[in-house]
């Protein structure tokens, strides 16, 4: 599903340049649940941003579902993001004046899906994350965990190839974190490919594979025995 070869990225900070990714190679197959682990500064968020086409690599190859991702302009990137990817952010990034339902329906709006179908689909995914009753509430009327579940539903709504989650439990307490991870595991069980960036060990071990990143290179890439989040809840 994801193929990366020799990916480099550096940021210019005045006269110095900071080499963040120093040749990353890895592949993700369909249906995998991968955690990208690393301390801050390891380059894990940069990697995720490049995977999410929110940022562009300096050199290297990136194929998503067999499509080479290169020469991106903003319009093309927007179309690929809409078609291939779903995002879950640490700070939820819901639009605060839209209800849960409208937030979930938004990626579908950019897919030009008719309004009625959009609403139905959005409601279906809200139901899946257990928030059907909350569909007409605004983000500020929901708890952090509920907001993150809305965000997960939004990432799911466009039926993407890959879901990218950046520190999705970073703003949540551990109980809520486990609830959200339980949801992520359920979605993965249905066959969705998910990449989770985290620096928390317990969250990483709820995935099926952990990629350790340090100073811009992969130092370890191993399959792990998945810890079911439901055990904690």
């Amino acid at each position: 599903m994801i193929e990366i070869k020799d990916l480099h990225k550096s940021y210019k900070m005045g006269s110095n340049s900071l080499h963040v990714l120093k040749g990353i190679n890895f592949t993700v197959k369909e249906g995998e649940l991968v955690a990208i682990m690393g301390s801050s500064g390891s380059g894990k968020s940069t990697l995720l941003n490049i995977l999410g086409m929110l940022d562009v690599a300096d050199s290297g190859e990136y194929k998503l579902d067999g499509v080479p991702i290169k020469d991106l302009n903003e319009t093309k990137a927007a179309k690929y993001r809409n078609k291939f990817l779903g995002f879950v952010f640490q700070s939820f990034n819901l639009i605060n004046y839209k209800t849960a339902l409208e937030n979930v329906a938004l990626p579908l709006y950019y897919q030009r899906i008719p309004r009625k179908e959009r609403q139905e689909k959005a409601l279906k995914y809200l139901e899946m994350v257990g928030l059907k009753e909350w569909s007409h509430h605004l983000p500020n009327e929901l708890s952090g965990g509920q907001n993150q579940r809305v965000a997960v539903a939004r990432a799911m709504a466009s039926e993407p190839k890959v879901i990218l989650a950046d520190e999705l439990t970073g703003a949540l307490d551990s109980t809520t974190s486990y609830e959200v991870m339980e949801l992520v595991q359920e979605i993965n069980d249905q066959g969705n490919t998910i990449l989770v960036v985290t620096h928390e060990d317990d969250i990483a071990h709820m995935c099926k594979r952990i990629v350790y990143l340090k100073d811009g290179v992969i130092i370890k890439d191993e399959k792990v025995k998945q810890v079911r989040a439901s055990e904690y809840v």
Binding site: L54, D55, E74, A78, N82, K83, L106, Y110
Partner: protein, 409 residues
Amino acid sequence: MFSRDNWKEIFETIQKNKLRTFLSGFTVALGILIFVSLVGLTNGLQNTFDEFFNDDSTNTFFIFPGRTSMPYKGYKSNRQIEFDNSDLADIEKNFSLFVQYVSPRIDRSGLVKYKNESNNYTTRAVSESYQFAEKTIMMKGRYLNLDDIKGKAKYAVIGRLVEQDLFNDEDAIGEYIDIAGSVFKVIGVFQDDAGDDEERRIYIPYTTRQLIEKNTDKINQIVVGFKPEIGYAGAMAFDKSLDKFLRDKKYISPDDQNGIYIRNVMDQYEQNQQFAGVLAIIGGAIAFGTILAGIIGISNIMVFVVKERTKELGIRKALGATPRAVVSSILLESTFITTISGIFGMILGMAILSSMGEKLKDYFITNPYINLGLAIFATILLIVCGAIAGYIPARRAARIKPIVALRDD
């Protein structure tokens, strides 16, 4: 781009961001409202100035005799100047190049009676040409003519309100009225745009008045109508030489302010027109400034709106909004608001103006109005400038990488 779905999304955004909507809408509506009102009031002012004169001819001098304030050529000071019939003839003879007509004017106030009705009116004794000076409009019957003047006929032309007062709803033509003891036959009824006072007047031949007053040849004032083709400069020159001629004839010092006074209507008209013109320029400049302030205001709001939405736009882009979609949604939203509120402000302003009508006449504003084309032009100008002002930050926002926009908390 203009699909129903897009509009729905835009309406939702507008509805849920009321402060933003209100701010930009209010700025535009207020700008247009003030512009329309200012231009309208300036036009109303101009109307009033025009109205001062359009019920009378402007090619007219009114000559008023006075009392001398300095001795001259052996005559003592404090002498009352009087005109008589020979002055009329002299003016006509000496200034035939300029003069169109000359009419005396003798005003007397007195009780006028018809059957059981009576009232006090000003009776103005004039010659037949005085009709031109006042632009008197005949409703029925006729005005005085030369035969009436020569024959010293006891004919009267009465104002519309005189007929209304004395005759109730009956026809006055051919009836006889009693003016301060003399009986006159009503030969005409007139109206005058200047208003009620003028329509409560009675005109009679000046020769008849002189006959009643012991066959005198004295007259109060002289009205001179000059040929319009001599123009403003000609009128000023005529004014000057007429003044000199009369001072010579009546032995009044050229420096005496009080002996004689010529009211030059054309000169007054010119000055008033200039004054009105200056007021129009000032009003126009302020109105233009208002539009400019409106444009700056809406531009500021647009920059602020886009800045405020940076994060939201980042989210939308992460979810698959193309830069084009971002720019068009911002522009459609803002143009929609400014168009609706601009039209609202324009219509409100025009409604206010038309409801004013004559209500502000005491403040020298009559029938304020604005040219519809000008109002629409100003509205469109504001909308277009608002859109341009919105486009620049919107395009910049659309170019910001989502990752940068999302970082911006």
